[in-house]
């Protein structure tokens, strides 16, 4: 188990303190975070929630690869934490929590941005929006090929 990296898929509410505590180090002066939240409107439609689906086995491997790339890009000192909830989440729920710590802010900010941008394009995770009028829609995304 890599003590500098944690990846978690869960059907439970993500505890924000878990990510913060995982990446905090006495020698690190910067902790950055990204929180993805279910919003109430998308493309003019009133959203009441999102169901997240994931192929966890492959998603964990791909997120690990992304974290290795991030370490190579931004320094071996960085500590990375990624949590993603699956299942139905109502508006206001936290879908994704990413925390990165490093000795200095620049690396932590760049790495956090790298992680979320690549998670969205490369991890096998899908969302189905649920609308106020009772309909649902699986959203379009990025091809894995």
């Amino acid at each position: 188990m890599d003590k500098n990296l944690k990846i978690l898929f869960t059907d439970k509410v993500i505890k924000l303190t878990d990510g913060f505590n995982f990446v905090a180090r006495d020698a690190h002066g910067a902790i950055t975070s990204f929180l993805g939240v279910v919003r109430s409107v998308n493309e003019g439609e009133s959203v009441i929630g999102i169901t997240y689906d994931a192929y966890v086995r492959l998603a964990e491997k791909i997120l690990q690869e992304i974290c290795v790339e991030s370490t190579n890009n931004y320094g071996k000192e960085i500590i990375q934490y990624i949590a993603h909830q699956v299942g139905y989440l109502p508006v206001g729920s936290i879908t994704t929590a990413i925390y990165v710590s490093s000795p200095h802010r620049k690396q932590a900010m760049s790495a956090c941005h790298y992680l979320i941008e690549n998670l969205k394009k490369r991890a096998p995770i899908w969302k189905q929006e649920h609308y106020l009028n009772g309909s649902t829609k699986w959203l379009k995304g990025c091809c894995l090929a």
Binding site: Y55, K120, I125, W126, A145
Partner: protein, 91 residues
Amino acid sequence: MSSEITIKVLVFGVFRKYIDKGNVTVRVNSDCSVDMLKKALKDEIIKLNPQFEDVELLDSSVFAKGNHIISQNVLLTDNEEVCVLPPVNGG
């Protein structure tokens, strides 16, 4: 003479709209590649959903086995379990 093999396909994302139990079993020729499975899966989806019109969905999807994506020309064996992964949008 070509015999048949059975492949179990696990579905994710928008494919759940067409295969709501989350998986489907297809019978294909024993020399079936991933590309050929894609065609067989499309036929199966149309059989289950005559109104299916998203012809680009399978072309924009990839297949995976275990924790790796497999290429179009990989040959499949009897009783294998593969996953079909449509375009992604997590976060």
